[in-house]
Symmetry: C2
Subunit: 360 residues, 2 copies
């Protein structure tokens, strides 16, 4: 493994779309939603531990989740947990991590990755990341993102159009970015063959991404650069807590990638899903002959294509549901059609309004 | 109140149709299914305490439920809980109670009643019972049952045809009995105006009902009469435990009433329901504008005509269900269409087969 290679796992989200399983005090990345025996965060860490030295792995998270991160990844050096005092989307998070890594190794090449995605083709993934690290070591000025061959006209993802479509396994220059297109546009994108899903996994040299910040997010760059003498010292957290709230909350896609001309896409087939919703969980979960996926001790009658999630030891008897989500937790029961899962945010607001923060 | 008047509340059933709320170790009569703040058993006791001296009130139950009966009705003398070592349907239960009461007062007039029915017109009910007690004190040879004006062609009840229909509030001679007719027959019964629902509430002199047992259920009569020296003594339970298993399990309707020629029906309007199923609970429960009845902290969206029952403190969010039953308990979740509630016995068998007795 190359000691110049670094990885930042972004684990600060609250994943409200998996409510009532995910909660503010235990969001999705800390859960074993797929029933694999490991949390998303742990799985992501183990995937990168194959190719990046463990001492070069950082996890950026909310201060509130610091202990949960260390509990999930005891191998992690405590100082490698980067704590955001509050969420400011991915751009400030990546800039902070890049500054911290630059303070250790100005020649560093880094991967920035979400902590809560599914990747089925793990061996291929490691090969791709390795090729990406090599690519940006060679083409030093490039900002590289991993693009994925769309398998359906999803409306919840970002799409990247490439300059000219070349075979899978190649690097393509990015041309346009489109966040969450409508169904019609998504259909056109997918059939064109020129568009790829944006995985949210980025690879670049730290100096390259920081130059991009200096150009496209100068306030954030200056704020984070102004505390450069604190990085890696006991006063880092205090300094971050002071300046972080002033950083502009914006995604790295919108704040940097869409504004840059040196963006490349590594188009890959990784068996990827962001498992962003109960519906996408359903897609990847193992199902019975009637298309149901459920926890142990669930008994179904005349029930098809349902996601049924219950706590360990609980018996569930379900009859007459088609295409529903049934999620039971000790304090919240949710039953809704799969087609209504975009309403979960509304459920959370309703419960929060009536009952306060206790159940959200 | 007349000291010759006695009451036997039959509280031995397991009420599996209210699973998963009702369980073997806490059946329906001990539950506050309607959310009134009182169990069915307690409500039944209080209703009779208006007209029968408390020391003349007996509760017949399974030995396993003895302590629960006394906890629900602390006013009850412990020796007034008649414990059946096992269920043998209503005929042996009533014969045992009648023998016990005869040993105290051979002139006794008794009411025998289920413990788990709903009666809305309580004042009228007390008047009716009083009239019934007077009727059988006068017409000493009669076996009297309370009949109810059918409000729909229910197929789950017993029907009694009267000799000649006279106005409500009168006593009619019974002509025929029909248990659980099919829908077609039930329709004919209801439109004829000659049929009444059998409430399972009986009034008679103890000597009259015991003579009927001697004639129509002679083995049961002889078994229970053979231990007559034990009634009211410390050896009663031991004697009952010995002979009770030998009694024939049969309902008093089928074993006595249908075979007797001296049966009368007091046709009444009591606002009665046996609340035998989740569907009948739904009928009597208070509902929101969309026809849903639910526990506190339940939030519904696009949901109509549902029964939603959750434990105290639990939040439920339900979307897109029409005519469903959702019952959540700490260890069992059940979701089924109201039209499928007759399948609950099947659910119980399935869960019992897979998980043993723990959840049933």
């Amino acid at each position: 493994m190359n000691n110049n290679h670094y990885c930042v796992i972004m684990a600060g989200g609250v994943g409200s779309r998996f409510w009532p399983i995910s909660r503010h005090d235990r969001p999705k990345q800390f859960l074993d939603v797929l029933g694999t025996g490991k949390s998303f965060l742990r799985t992501t860490f183990e995937r990168f531990a194959n190719i990046i030295p463990v001492e070069n792995v950082f996890v950026a998270t909310n201060t509130a989740y610091r202990d949960m991160v260390l509990a999930e990844i005891p191998e992690l050096k405590p100082e490698n947990v980067l704590c955001e005092p509050l969420g400011r989307n991915t751009a400030p998070c990546i800039a902070y991590a890049a500054m911290r890594i630059r303070s250790i190794n100005p020649d560093a090449v880094m991967v920035a990755t979400p902590s809560d995605h599914l990747i089925l083709n793990e061996i291929h993934f490691c090969e791709v990341i390795q090729q990406c690290l090599d690519f940006v070591s060679d083409k030093q000025e490039s900002l590289l993102t991993i693009g994925l061959q769309p398998t359906r006209p999803a409306t919840g993802y970002g799409y990247i159009q490439v300059n000219k479509h070349v075979a899978e396994g190649k690097f393509n220059k990015a041309k346009t970015f489109t966040e969450k297109p409508n169904r019609e546009l998504a259909n056109i994108f997918v059939s064109s063959g020129e568009y790829f899903w944006n995985s949210g996994i980025f690879v670049w040299r730290v100096d390259t991404i920081l130059r991009a910040f200096e150009e496209h997010q100068p306030e954030t760059y200056q704020l984070l650069d102004s505390i450069s003498e604190h990085y890696g010292t006991p006063t880092e957290q205090e300094a971050i807590d002071r300046i972080y709230p002033e950083c502009r909350g914006i995604s790295v896609d919108y704040g940097i990638m869409e504004r840059s001309s040196n963006v490349w896409v590594r188009c890959s087939d990784l068996g990827w899903s962001d498992i962003g919703t109960w519906g996408s969980l359903y897609q990847y979960a193992s199902k019975d002959d009637n298309g149901n996926t459920y926890s142990a001790d669930t008994f179904t009658f005349d029930t098809e294509n349902c996601v049924i999630k219950t706590p360990e030891g609980k018996v569930a008897v379900i009859e007459g549901l088609k295409d529903y989500i049934v999620v039971d937790t000790p304090d919240v029961l949710m039953v809704c059609p799969k087609s209504a899962e975009q309403n979960i945010k509304r459920y959370i607001e309703t419960v929060k309004f009536a009952k306060g923060d206790k159940h959200v």
